[in-house]
C-alpha cells in the first residue's frame, strides 16, 4: 500500500504557479496511491526540461538522465528487470527534438514502458524557444518572425512507428489523467500519453482556458483497435476539435515478452557469477 505521504519528498515543486506539470505530478501521485506503486515495484526515468524536475518531488526510485535520452535508459532498465513498472517522464523538446530517433525505435520495439509526454509545445526551461510541436507561425524567442517549421503530430508518429497504446490527455483533467496513466501501465507494450499542458509563462495562447474550450473526449463507442480510424482521429486538431482519450490500442508481444532469457525471472534477480565458459574456449582450439 502506498499512502500519499509516502510519496512526499523534502522538496516542494518549483514549477510556475498554474503550470500543467503540477497537474501531471498530482495525477501521477493519485495513480500511484491507487495502484500501490513504490520503490519496491516502480522506477521513473526522466529527461531534461521542466518535466525532469519531477524526480525531486515524487519519492520513487528515479533516474534523471540526459536531455533526449530517457527512452534508451528506460529500455535498458525494463529489459533487465521486466517486473518493474517503468515510467518515462519526458517533454516535447526532450522526446521529439534531441530524442526523436529514440522515440521512433522505442515505439517500433514495443518495450513495455509508459511514456508521459509533458507537451507544452515549447522549450520552457530555456525560456521559451520553439519545439518540434510548436504551431506554424507561432512567435517564440527563437522564431520572432513566427515559426517557419511545421510541427509534427506525436500521436500519428507513435501509431505508425509501432506503439501499441496511444492516447492524449489534458493535464487539467487530473482524474481522467490518473485513470489513463493506470490503464497505460497495465497495457503490455509501449504506451504513449501525449499530455497537453499550458506553459503559463511563455505561451499566452494555449492556456488552461484554451484547452478547456477546445478539447473533447472521444465518443464512448469509439473503437481504438482500428488503426486507420485512429490515424484519422489523431489527425484532428482545431477550434473545439482537439480529441482526448485512447486513440489506438492493440495487442502485440512486447519486446520483453519475446526475450527467452527473461521468461522465468528478471536478469536482476540472478546473482552475477563467473560463467564457466571453458567449453566455449575450446571452439577456438
Amino acid at each position: 500500500m502506498t499512502k500519499m505521504s509516502d510519496l512526499q519528498t523534502l522538496h516542494f515543486p518549483n514549477w510556475c504557479p498554474g503550470c500543467g506539470d503540477l497537474n501531471i505530478w498530482g495525477a501521477f501521485k493519485n495513480a500511484a496511491v491507487k495502484e500501490g506503486w513504490d520503490s519496491s515495484n516502480t522506477s521513473i526515468v526522466a529527461g531534461i526540461g521542466c518535466h525532469g524536475h519531477i524526480v525531486n518531488f515524487v519519492k520513487l526510485n528515479s533516474f534523471e538522465g540526459l536531455h533526449g535520452r530517457a527512452l534508451p535508459v528506460a529500455s535498458g532498465v525494463k529489459m533487465v528487470n521486466n517486473r518493474l513498472n517503468t515510467f518515462v517522464f519526458t517533454g516535447d523538446g526532450d522526446c521529439f527534438g534531441e530524442g526523436g530517433n529514440h522515440f521512433i525505435h522505442t515505439c517500433r520495439r514495443n518495450h513495455d514502458l509508459t511514456i508521459l509526454i509533458h507537451d507544452n509545445a515549447l522549450y520552457s526551461l530555456t525560456t521559451g524557444q520553439t519545439s518540434p510541436l510548436t504551431a506554424h507561425g507561432f512567435k517564440t524567442k527563437s522564431t520572432p518572425q513566427g515559426n517557419p517549421d511545421e510541427p509534427f503530430n506525436p500521436l500519428t508518429l507513435a501509431i505508425i512507428s509501432g506503439a501499441t497504446f496511444v492516447a492524449r490527455a489534458y493535464s487539467g483533467d487530473m482524474p481522467k489523467l490518473a485513470e489513463l496513466i493506470i490503464e497505460a501501465n497495465k497495457h503490455k507494450g509501449l504506451a504513449v500519453i501525449d499530455i497537453l499542458q499550458p506553459c503559463v509563462t511563455f505561451n499566452k495562447v494555449c492556456t488552461h482556458g484554451f484547452y478547456q474550450e477546445n478539447t473533447y473526449y472521444l465518443e464512448e463507442n469509439y473503437d481504438p483497435s482500428d488503426k486507420n480510424k485512429a490515424l484519422e482521429r489523431a489527425s484532428e486538431f482545431g477550434d473545439k476539435k482537439i480529441p482526448l482519450g485512447i486513440f489506438y490500442k492493440t495487442n502485440r508481444p512486447s519486446y520483453e515478452d519475446q526475450i527467452l532469457q527473461i521468461k522465468e525471472k528478471p536478469l536482476t534477480e540472478i546473482p552475477v557469477e563467473r560463467s564457466s565458459a571453458i567449453e566455449l574456449f575450446k571452439k577456438y582450439t
Binding site: 525531486n56 527467452l260 557469477e273
Partner: protein, 581 residues
C-alpha cells in the same frame, strides 16, 4: 622452394583473393591446422571496407615458438587471383613458393626466379568436385598442407567441424576437394615437400592452444565475468564482439541488444546497470564520439559500465578497416567536466580477455565507467595462447546490495569514499541524478555539497591507484641502453623485434588512468635512450607520459598510415638512434 625445416623460426603463409572468396576462413583453418599440430600462430588480416571484390589477404605465421607479429615477407603465397601476385610480388622470402591456379591465365613472369612456382588446377578440381567456386579455397588448403608436410586427417577434421552445420554433402565435397589438392601436390611436386608442420611428437596428450582474436577475447572475457547486458551498435573493427555475444546469449543467460545508435547503446547499458545488471557496450572512435555524452552520465550518476573502444584511423570515417592509436587523448578527456575515468589498454588478445574481466570488477567497485582500449590489429588478428584460465578470477560487485538498507543514502559521503549501491525494486529510495545531487540524489546547487560530491567522485581514482592499478610491464633485460615504451598492439611487434636486439628492453603500458607515474619514471630513468612507439601523428602516449612524469621523450617512431608496425621497422628505429649518437 621453401627450405622450411624445423630450424627456421617462423613460416609465413599469405592467402590472397577478392573479398567474398573466403580468405579469412581459409586462413583460420590453416591456423587451426597449425595449432592442432602443436605450433604457435599469429595471423594478420587486411581488407578494404567492402563485401565483394577488392583485395583481401590473410597472413598466417607459424612457429614452434611464440609468434606475436606479422612479417614483411612470405614463405608461401597462395594467390587465388592475379591481383595477389602483383600486389605481393616484393614480399617473397629468400626460399619461397607461389601456389596458384594453373587453369586460369596467370602472369608469373615478374615473380623472382628463386620462387618455386607451384601451379595446380584449382578451379578445375573445384569445378569437378562440387561445381562451386568457393571450393577453390579448400583445394588450396589441401595443397598447402601437402607442401608443409601437414596431416591431411587434421585438415579433414577441421573441414567437418567448419561445414558440419551445412550438411553432410557439403562436408564430403570439401573433404574431397582438400584431398585432391593434397594429392596433386604430393604426386607432382615431390621436390618441394617439407616436413615443417609434422604433428608434434607429444600429440597424444597435448592440449592445443586457442587461436583467438581480440574481439573474440573481449566477448569471452565478458561472458566469463558474468555479463548480463550488452548494447552494441555494429562498427568496424569491433562488430565481431557483438556477433559472439549475440550467438551465445541464450546459453549464458545475458541479453545482447542492437540499439538504433551508439547514443542509445550507452544509455541502454547505463539503464541496465542502474537496474543492477553487469553491463557493457563497445564501439570504435566514431561511435565513442557519440557516446561521449553518456560516458560522463555514468560518471555523474556513479553507474558502473564497461566500454570497449576498438580504434581505427580517424578522423571522420577515416580508414574503416585499418588500425590506429589516435583515440587515446580523446578517451582521456572526453566529456565536459571532471569525473573519474578508469582507462585500460590491452596489448594483445589475451590481455584483452583478462582486462575485460577486470574492467567489470573495477566498474562495480568504483561505480564509474571503465574504458578498455584495443585497436583493429588486436580486434581482428588471431594469436595462439594456452586455453584461457578462469581460476584466478572472482566476481567482485563492490558495495552492492539488492536488499533493504536502513536509512539508505545512495551518494552517502563516508570515509571509505564509495557509497552503498542498490537497485530500483529493492525498496530503497534514491535518485540516480545527472544533475549535481545530495546524498539521496535530489538535485542541488548548494556550493558546499557540490564541492564535496566532486571530491568524493574524484577521490575514487586515488583509491584505485593505491588498490588496483597495475605497474607497466617490463620485457627484456632490466638494464638496457635503449628502452622502448609503447602500448596496444605494438606490443607483439616490439616483443618480436626484441628477439633480435641486444641491450634493449620494452616497457608496456596498460593502465592509462589512473596513470603509473612513479613506476614509469623509475623504469624510464634507467636507460640511455627512450624510444616511444605509437600509431598516431602527434605521439599521444608521449604527451601523457610527459604530463604525468615530466619526462620528455625525444625519439619517437610514429606511424599513421593505418598499417601495422613490422618488427623490422622497430629494429631500424633502434639502430638509427644508436648510429646517431
Amino acid at each position: 622452394m621453401p627450405k622450411v625445416d624445423n630450424r627456421q623460426e617462423i613460416l609465413s603463409v599469405k592467402i590472397g583473393a577478392e573479398a567474398g572468396q573466403g580468405v579469412k576462413s581459409a586462413g583460420l583453418m590453416l591456423a587451426k591446422l597449425a595449432i592442432r599440430s602443436g605450433y604457435h600462430i599469429y595471423s594478420q588480416i587486411e581488407y578494404p571496407s567492402l563485401i565483394k571484390g577488392g583485395h583481401n589477404v590473410i597472413q598466417v605465421n607459424i612457429s614452434k615458438n611464440e609468434v606475436t607479429a606479422p612479417r614483411k615477407v612470405n614463405d608461401i603465397l597462395i594467390a587465388l587471383n592475379q591481383d595477389t601476385i602483383n600486389k605481393h610480388i616484393t614480399e617473397f622470402s629468400k626460399d619461397s613458393g607461389l601456389i596458384f591456379d594453373s587453369e586460369v591465365k596467370v602472369d608469373t613472369s615478374k615473380v623472382p626466379s628463386n620462387v618455386a612456382l607451384i601451379g595446380l588446377p584449382l578451379s578445375k578440381i573445384s569445378r569437378e568436385t562440387g561445381n562451386s567456386a568457393l571450393l577453390i579455397n579448400t583445394v588450396a588448403l589441401g595443397a598447402v598442407t601437402a607442401v608443409l608436410g601437414g596431416n591431411i586427417v587434421i585438415l579433414n577434421e577441421l573441414i567437418a567441424e567448419e561445414f558440419g552445420s551445412k550438411g553432410e554433402e557439403i562436408v564430403k565435397v570439401n573433404v574431397s576437394a582438400a584431398e585432391q589438392g593434397f594429392k596433386h601436390i604430393t604426386e607432382n611436386y615431390k621436390k618441394y615437400l617439407r616436413a615443417f608442420l609434422s604433428p608434434s611428437d607429444s600429440v597424444s596428450n597435448f592440449v592445443p592452444y586457442m587461436a583467438v582474436d581480440g574481439n573474440e577475447s573481449v566477448a569471452l572475457g565478458a561472458i566469463s565475468a558474468g555479463l548480463q547486458f550488452a548494447a552494441i551498435y555494429p562498427m568496424s573493427p569491433i562488430s565481431n564482439i557483438l556477433a559472439v555475444l549475440a550467438e551465445n546469449q541464450e546459453k549464458f543467460g545475458y541479453i545482447y541488444k542492437q540499439p538504433e545508435d551508439e547514443i542509445s547503446a550507452i544509455n541502454m547499458s547505463i539503464g541496465a546497470s542502474y537496474a543492477g545488471a553487469r553491463a557493457m557496450t563497445a564501439t570504435s572512435g566514431g561511435g565513442f564520439s557519440l557516446m561521449t555524452e553518456g560516458y560522463g552520465l555514468a560518471g555523474m550518476t556513479e553507474t558502473p559500465l564497461v566500454i570497449v573502444e576498438g580504434m581505427r584511423p580517424g578522423p571522420a570515417t577515416g580508414l574503416p578497416t585499418w588500425s590506429d592509436q589516435g583515440d587515446l587523448q580523446m578517451i582521456l578527456n572526453a566529456h565536459q567536466g571532471d569525473f573519474p575515468r578508469i582507462i585500460l589498454a590491452a596489448g594483445d588478445a589475451k590481455e584483452a580477455f583478462e582486462l575485460t574481466m577486470q574492467a567489470f570488477n573495477l566498474a562495480d567497485k568504483y561505480q564509474t565507467p571503465v574504458v578498455l582500449i584495443i585497436d583493429k590489429n588486436i580486434c581482428e588478428n588471431a594469436q595462439s595462447f594456452p586455453l584461457y584460465d578462469l581460476a584466478g578470477y572472482k566476481v567482485d560487485r563492490g558495495k552492492f546490495s539488492t536488499n533493504r538498507v536502513e536509512n539508505y543514502k545512495r551518494y552517502e559521503l563516508n570515509p571509505e569514499g564509495i557509497s552503498q549501491r542498490t537497485v530500483p525494486g529493492a525498496g530503497n529510495f534514491f535518485v540516480a541524478n545527472s544533475d549535481e545531487h545530495d546524498e539521496e540524489g535530489y538535485s542541488t546547487e548548494d556550493a558546499e555539497i557540490r564541492s564535496k560530491m566532486m571530491e568524493k567522485r574524484m577521490n575514487k581514482l586515488k583509491i584505485c591507484k593505491e588498490q588496483d592499478m597495475q605497474k607497466p610491464q617490463m620485457f627484456g633485460p632490466e638494464n638496457a641502453d635503449v628502452t622502448i615504451v609503447s602500448w596496444g598492439s605494438n606490443k607483439g611487434t616490439i616483443l618480436q623485434a626484441l628477439k633480435e636486439l641486444d641491450n634493449v628492453n620494452y616497457v608496456h603500458i596498460s593502465w592509462l588512468s589512473p596513470f603509473p607515474s612513479e613506476t614509469l619514471s623509475e623504469m624510464l630513468s634507467k636507460s640511455k635512450y627512450i624510444l616511444n612507439v605509437e600509431c598516431n601523428y602527434t605521439g599521444q602516449m608521449a604527451k601523457l607520459i610527459r604530463e604525468n612524469t615530466q619526462i620528455k621523450i625525444d625519439e619517437n617512431f610514429l606511424k599513421y598510415d593505418g598499417r601495422q608496425i613490422y618488427p623490422e621497422e622497430i629494429i631500424d628505429a633502434v639502430n638509427k638512434i644508436r648510429s646517431k649518437k
